[in-house]
Structure formats: structure tokens, C-alpha cells
């Protein structure tokens, strides 16, 4: 996209020396940033780098401790979302802020006019929405209920909402996290039309590929500080990544796989729903020495599948076969007995007990073994030794085995979970969203451990909503859609677009799902 429409464009937005502290934590440290007319600036950084805080300050959700915001040459009063809106700033949050039980039209006009004139303006509003939708490729029926819309459509409504209010500056917070590859392409096309029409866009992301394809300029944040600023055209991917991480990027080498026999099999499994889709007649095999990746859009049955394999969800029909033996009663205990290592999706809710210590947490799957207890009495010395072993082997940053887990960062918590799950070299490993919310270093670490497990012959199932992660690690890829699995494909066999098609439900057989 061309930033300069002919000549040097004027700055529409200028942030100067923004500092925001939360107690001892400096979330934003003297950050300055400017945005020109018709420009897309990508705000790149890891989780916790301060991107969202900065945008929340810009939009008036937080008040900065220091610094100024100037929009179209005028200073923006701090801490006032209405002023931000009036100044022409529109924000599309990562988690949508739509009223589910209202129509698209109602959601868009909500708050723009007094309630008693609600019906009077409807015709004109509908006309305006249609025009905006047509101009920018944001097709969505104004009279449909939000509940009937897909995630991609909801995002379009959010963008329309901002445009309807005459936003000239659009902030998108991790907009592609919930989209299929096709929807992402469509979003990028919309952004191109928006900047062509003279709008400016701030695009928040931690995905390098996206940033490179959509932005004119990249601003990198690290640890609350401005780490660097580059013209997208002049920067290499590696350079951006290193700015983001602040050093050499760890690289995982993944060699060819040598698949062995099937260690874990599901045959015709159906379950009840766990929030998202329920599993319907799912069959799959996990072979030793192989990472099987499960791709899919959030809510298509990943949670049910992960819970099923973990043992916390019992199937309503179908068979679970572990090491060639059919399991009669399936439970977390049964899974552990048969040597499954399980990394749960939600570290805080399922993985760890925040109010208990590191030592107490790492023994939770094995406390009844003779290693940690005798005649019903726990051996706290053995527990502390085990905790120290994990702390050392997995490089966990924590003061002592007695520290409460609540105090650890997400990455360190995940390392503890890894240490617990991979203790005793399990040969069947379930990794459910194992890197969600982790920084690049921790992600590389988790990946390395999974590859290591594969190379020693374990069967690994990797469930992830991050298609990059699936494609990098998986020897075989399955796609889940509405609780059913696609046929497996080998590494590199399908393109991103083809996988996207499967994620959107094209090419799935109705009735039964296959994965042999």
C-alpha cells in the first residue's frame, strides 16, 4: 500500500512521550509515535509489550501518567473515550463489543442517536451502511441478528460501526486472531480500500507475516519501550523478529519424521458439547514419532476433543484405544495410568492451582505414587526435589518450590506444566494451545520440547488455532470443523488457502469424519 498519496502526507495522529505505570510495572515508557494520512502502521510486539495499553490510552480507556496525544493537530483530552470518538478515532477490539440480541443495524446506530428517534433514522442509516459496505467490501446484511453472524462478519460490523461514526483513524487490535485465512485476505483488501480513501490505520499484531503484507511502517514495542521503527519495505522478517524479542531469535530445526505404530486411537467418538461444538463420530489415530496437528477455527470442537483425551470428558459413544487396548472406563486417572502427558488449554483454570505452591502443583498427577507418598503421608522433601529438578531442567524463573504458582508468569507456569506432563517420558502427548499467550522465547522452548518428544518416539497431538504453529510443527494435519475431522494431510501437502477452505467447512464429508 502506498503511504504517500502523491506528496508528503500530514500527520493525523501524534503520540508524544506516553508513559503509563501500573504499580511497579511500567507498561508504556515514553513512547512516541505518529500516523500519517492514508497510512497503515503496524504496532508489533509480544504479549505484554504494551501495545494494547498504548491503544487503550489513545482511545481514552486509560489515562496516561505522562505524555500528549494530538489528533488532526488538536490535543485530545485524556481519559475520555467520547472525545476520542468525536475526534475520529475508531477502535475494533480483539473481543467484540456487540449486543448479540440486536440486529447489525441496531448495533451500528446504537449510541449515535437519541433512543426516541430510533425508528425515524432507520431508513437513512440502512442506506448509509449499505453504501459503506459496498465501498469497502464489508458485505453484511444490516437486518440480521448478531448471533447469526460468523466471527468474520461480526468483525465487519465492528469496522462498519467505526466508519458509520465517521472514523478517520481506525485501530485494529489483533484483528486476524479469530479469522480464517480467507477472511484475513478479505480484511486486508478492506484495509487497502480504506487507506485509498484517506483513512489511517493502526494494526496491532504479533504476527510478522501479516505485518509485512499489510503495513507501510512498523513500530516495534518491547517491554513497554519503543524498540524500533522501520519502513516495512526496508525491513527483513528476521530484523523485525529480533527487534521484537530483543536478541537472537531461537530457531527450532525439525527433521523428517519416522512414524511408528499407532499408540492412541479414537473410533467413532461422539461427546456432549463443551461450549463449542460437540464431537460427532470422530475417528483418529496418533502414531509414535509423529506430531499430528489439529487446525480449526476456535469453537469447532477443539475443547471437547482436548477434554476427551485428557479424560475430563467421557464419550457418549465410540471407543478409545490406547496402546492397542480398548479402555473401558475413561478418566484423568485412567489417562495418566496409561502414560498420557497432557498440556491443558487453560493454564490458570485447569493446568495449575494458583493458590498452591510450585511443589504442590508439580506432584498433582503423581502424588499417590510411592515416589511422593508412603502410607498416605506425603514426602515433601521428594516433592521439593522434583520441583527443583523441573525448575532447573526447564529453566523456570521462580523464587523457590514453596512459591505460590499464582505469582509466576504465564511462560513459567507453562514450563511447570510441561515439566509435570513430560515427566517419565510419556509416549502419548496432548498439547492443547500450548503456546497461547507466551512470548517468542517461551514459544520456541515449548516447540523444542514437543519436537524432542516426537524424536524419541512419542505420539504428539498439537491442537492450535495458530495455523503457522500447526504448519511448522505438524507431520500430519487434521482440520476440525463443527466437531468433525477432515482427512489427514501430510506436511506441506496443502497450502494455507486449502487449509483455510477446510477450516471453513468446505471439503468435509457430512456424516462421518475420517482420519486414518
Amino acid at each position: 500500500m502506498d503511504a504517500n498519496n502523491g506528496q508528503e502526507a500530514e500527520a493525523v495522529l501524534r503520540l508524544t512521550g506516553i508513559t503509563k505505570r501500573f504499580g511497579p510495572l511500567v507498561a508504556n515508557d515514553a513512547i512516541s509515535l505518529s500516523l500519517k494520512r492514508g497510512e497503515v502502521v503496524a504496532l508489533l510486539g509480544e504479549n505484554g509489550a504494551g501495545k494494547t495499553t498504548l491503544m487503550n490510552i489513545l482511545f481514552g480507556h486509560y489515562t496516561a501518567d505522562e505524555g500528549d496525544i494530538e489528533v488532526f493537530g488538536k490535543t485530545l483530552p485524556p481519559g475520555d473515550p467520547h472525545a476520542a470518538l468525536a475526534a475520529g478515532i475508531g477502535m475494533v477490539h480483539q473481543h467484540f463489543t456487540l449486543a448479540d440480541q440486536m440486529t447489525v443495524l441496531e448495533n451500528i446506530v446504537l449510541g449515535t442517536q437519541p433512543l426516541w428517534s430510533f425508528n425515524l433514522g432507520k431508513g437513512a442509516a440502512r442506506e448509509k451502511i449499505r453504501r459503506l459496505a459496498a465501498d469497502y467490501g464489508l458485505e453484511v446484511d444490516p437486518d440480521r441478528m448478531i448471533t447469526e453472524l460468523s466471527v468474520g462478519e461480526r468483525q465487519r460490523v465492528e469496522i462498519l460501526k467505526a466508519l458509520y461514526r465517521e472514523a478517520r483513524i481506525l485501530i485494529l487490535d489483533e484483528p486476524t486472531a479469530v479469522l480464517t485465512p480467507m477472511e484475513t485476505e478479505a480484511l486486508f483488501a478492506t484495509l487497502a480500500k480504506l487507506v485509498a480513501a484517506g483513512l489511517s490505520v493502526i494494526f496491532i499484531s504479533h504476527k510478522l507475516g501479516e505485518v509485512q503484507s499489510v503495513s507501510d511502517r512498523v513500530v516495534v514495542l518491547r517491554g513497554g519501550k519503543l524498540a524500533g521503527e522501520r519502513k516495512t519495505a526496508d525491513a527483513t522478517r528476521r530484523e523485525l523478529a529480533e527487534l521484537m524479542v530483543g536478541g537472537q531469535l531461537p530457531v527450532n530445526e525439525i527433521g523428517p519424521s519416522s512414524p511408528r505404530e499407532c499408540l492412541f486411537e479414537l473410533k467413532g467418538i461422539s461427546t456432549r458439547s463443551l461450549g463449542g461444538a460437540a464431537l460427532r463420530q470422530v475417528s483418529m489415530q496418533l502414531r509414535g514419532g509423529e506430531i499430528t496437528g489439529l487446525a480449526g477455527i476456535s469453537g469447532n470442537g477443539q475443547a471437547a476433543l482436548a477434554a476427551l483425551i485428557s479424560g475430563t470428558l467421557e464419550p457418549v459413544e465410540g471407543e478409545i484405544i490406547v496402546h492397542g487396548e480398548k479402555v473401558e472406563r475413561w478418566s484423568p486417572g485412567a489417562a495418566l495410568e496409561r502414560g498420557l502427558g497432557r498440556i491443558p488449554e487453560d493454564r490458570h483454570a485447569t493446568g495449575m492451582i494458583g493458590d498452591m505452591s510450585v511443589a504442590e502443583n508439580v506432584i498433582s498427577e503423581a502424588y499417590r505414587s510411592s515416589r511422593f507418598s508412603r502410607f498416605g503421608f506425603l514426602d515433601w522433601k521428594a516433592a521439593a526435589t522434583f520441583a527443583n529438578d523441573i525448575i532447573k531442567a526447564y529453566d523456570v524463573k521462580c523464587p523457590s518450590p514453596d512459591a505460590r504458582v499464582r505469582l509466576l508468569s504465564g511462560g513459567n507456569m507453562q514450563k511447570l506444566i510441561l515439566g509435570r506432563a513430560l515427566d517419565g517420558d510419556p509416549d502419548i502427548i496432548l498439547a492443547s494451545q500450548p503456546t497461547r499467550g507466551l512470548d517468542v522465547g517461551a514459544v520456541a522452548y515449548v516447540h523444542a520440547r514437543l519436537i524432542e518428544a516426537r524424536d524419541r518416539g512419542a505420539a504428539v497431538l498439537l491442537i492450535s488455532e495458530d495455523l503457522d504453529e500447526i504448519q511448522t510443527l505438524s507431520d500430519r494435519i487434521l482440520v476440525i470443523h463443527r466437531g468433525q475431522l477432515s482427512r489427514p494431510s501430510l506436511r506441506g501437502e496443502l497450502s494455507v488457502m486449502e487449509l483455510g477452505e477446510l477450516m471453513a467447512g468446505h471439503g468435509h464429508d457430512e456424516g462421518a469424519s475420517h482420519a486414518a
Partner: protein
């Protein structure tokens, strides 16, 4: 206003907040005392003297603390696993019923055999009383607050029926009371001629045993894990429902010991006024102790001291002894607030 979790609570905070809670209680009760027309300093001095000012007062306080230690432990154990046992009162009475069923002559053994037998039988009865609500909770998701609370009334009526019927003392001049337990079933007095009995020692031992269970055993570990995060406990393979049932058995058994100790150690027989709400006060004791089994001993003595002291105070100053209940209730509320403020920071915005 919103609450933010504090990263870690310091040692100073864990002393200062509870101290502040006690101070707030004193200030609030002082206001009430002044409304009643007395001088707070005099009243508090009289309460203190009445609770610990003499050998008689101190022994009376410990005697009153004995059942509260048992019920406090019962509640602490259950609440630790987030099993909301509000039914310690019922379990106490059932323990007392079993004590008179066995101890009034139905079984004759030397006391070294009879007393343990009665204790075990009483504990089993109390345990069974909480088994029902625990099973209803784990199998059908029935709220145990409701079932255990309502069981209190059912059990009290049941005891009333027993005292008018099968357990009625034929020589009791028609009063609804049971026969007295035989000498071999009685707990010895600790000091000749004083009311403090061996039940107090049993209560201390129980507190130590419960502390060991919670700290050192797999069962205690399971109970804490289930209480802090049942979902994570389940994921880790801890049999959550079985742990809840075990917790219920332990909790019910401890509460029943309160009834046993009151009958076998102090009263000698069962009447409908055996407990002035020890089961409910046990909740206060457990909360004041922040569910720590050893803390329960101190909390029970504190609460008992206020009641005993206030009784003595109301005889000499012209302030009703109800002030004791207000003080205990206030200390509970301020302590709960202090515990919350220890863990969370309040942000105004």
C-alpha cells in the same frame, strides 16, 4: 470500585490486617457500650476479668471453648475443601444421641474400652449425617448449604422426639431429658471439683491430628487442591467427588465429637439445650482461624472468652450480655473483610 489481587501478602500485612480487624471490633463495640450507658474501658476490663481474671474464669472459658474447638475444626476441614457444611449443629446432636444410646448402660465395658467405643460410634453417626448432603452434592449437584442447614432443624426435632420417647429418662419427672451416662462412660475432670474435663485434651489432640492430616497426608493435599481449584484437581486425576465425601465424613465426625464431649464430659445427659448454637459458632471460629486447625484452638478460646466474660460483665455492669454476640459477630465480619483486604487491593475509579 473494583478489587485487584495482590501479588503476595507480606508477613507484616498478615499481622496488621487481623490486628486492624480486632481494633475495629473494639471501636464498634465501644460505641454500643456507650449507647447502653456504660464506659467502654470498664466494660472491656470486666469482660477480660470475667474471661481470664481468675482460675475459675479461665477454666470456664476453656470448658466453653471445648465444643467450639470441635465444631470449629469440623467447619475448617469442610470449608477448606469448599464443602459448605452449615450442619455442625445437627452432627453435634447426633453425636450426643449416640453417646447416650451406648453410654447409659446398654454396653458395659471398662472405661478404657467404653469411651473409645462411644467416640467412634458418635463420629460415625455425625459422619453419616453429612454423607447424605455430600452424596447429593456430588451426584446431583444439590447445594449442600441448603441441605445441611435444613438438616439442623430436622435433627433437632428428631432429638426432641427421642427425648419424649425412647430415650426419655423415666426418673426425670417428665422433663424431656435422657438418662445419665454411666460412670465408665464419663470423661474425667482435669482438676478435681472443677468443670474442665478431658474433652478439652481430646479437642487439642484433634486439632493437632487435623493439622497433620491437612499438612502432611495425601488426603489433606487432595482436600486443599479440591478446595482451591476443583477443575484443576480433576484434571490432575484427583478423585474430586471421593475427596468431597471423605471430607464430609471427617467433618461430620469432628462435629459429633463436640456432642460426645459435652454429654460425656460436662452435662452427663442429653437435653434439648445441650448446645446454644455451638455448630453455628463453629463457623465463626473457623473463619476467625482462617481455616487453620491450630488457629481454631486460639479462635475458640477467644470466642468462648468473650461469651464467658460478657456473662460476668453483665452481672456487674448494667450492659446486657448480648453485647458478646455483637462482638463475636463484628469480629467475624471485620476478620472476613481483613482477610479479603489481605488478598486484594481496592481500587476506586
Amino acid at each position: 470500585m473494583r478489587l485487584e489481587p495482590r501479588p503476595a501478602s507480606s508477613v507484616a500485612a498478615s499481622i496488621l490486617w487481623p490486628a486492624g480487624a480486632i481494633l475495629a471490633t473494639v471501636v464498634f463495640s465501644s460505641l454500643l457500650v456507650m449507647i447502653a450507658g456504660a464506659s467502654p474501658l470498664t466494660v472491656f476490663w470486666l469482660v477480660l476479668k470475667g474471661a481470664a481474671g481468675s482460675q475459675f474464669a479461665a477454666l470456664e472459658t476453656l470448658t466453653r471453648a471445648t465444643p467450639l474447638i470441635f465444631t470449629g475444626l469440623a467447619v475448617a476441614v469442610a470449608f477448606r475443601a469448599k464443602l459448605w457444611n452449615i450442619g455442625a449443629e445437627a452432627q453435634l446432636y447426633l453425636g450426643a444421641v449416640m453417646t447416650v444410646v451406648i453410654g447409659t448402660g446398654a454396653v458395659t465395658l471398662p472405661s478404657a474400652g467404653l469411651i473409645p467405643l462411644i467416640m467412634i460410634a458418635a463420629m460415625l453417626t455425625g459422619a453419616l449425617a453429612l454423607l447424605g448432603p455430600a452424596v447429593l452434592k456430588t451426584k446431583f449437584g444439590v447445594d449442600e448449604v441448603v441441605t445441611t442447614l435444613l438438616l439442623n432443624f430436622i435433627v433437632l426435632l428428631f432429638v426432641s422426639m427421642l427425648l419424649e420417647g425412647p430415650l426419655k429418662d423415666p426418673t426425670g419427672l417428665g422433663w424431656p431429658q435422657s438418662k445419665r451416662v454411666i460412670a465408665d462412660a464419663q470423661l474425667p475432670r482435669l482438676i478435681k471439683g472443677k468443670r474442665l474435663h478431658f474433652g478439652f485434651i481430646l479437642a487439642i489432640i484433634s486439632a493437632i491430628v487435623v493439622w497433620v492430616i491437612m499438612k502432611k497426608t495425601t488426603l489433606g493435599y487432595e482436600m486443599r487442591a479440591v478446595g482451591h481449584n476443583a477443575e484443576a484437581a480433576r484434571f490432575a486425576g484427583i478423585p474430586v467427588n471421593r475427596v468431597i465425601v471423605k471430607t464430609a465424613l471427617l467433618s461430620g465426625g469432628l462435629a459429633a465429637l463436640a456432642g460426645f464431649s459435652e454429654v460425656a464430659g460436662l452435662k452427663g445427659n442429653l437435653t434439648l439445650d445441650l448446645s446454644p448454637g455451638y455448630g453455628y459458632t463453629g463457623i465463626v471460629v473457623a473463619m476467625l482461624a482462617m481455616l487453620n486447625p491450630l488457629g481454631v484452638i486460639a479462635a475458640a478460646i477467644f470466642v468462648a472468652g468473650i461469651f464467658v466474660g460478657a456473662d460476668a460483665m453483665s452481672r456487674s455492669a448494667n450492659v446486657p450480655s448480648y453485647i458478646a454476640e455483637v462482638m463475636v459477630a463484628t469480629s467475624l465480619l471485620t476478620m472476613v473483610a481483613a482477610i479479603m483486604l489481605m488478598r486484594y487491593r481496592v481500587r476506586w475509579r
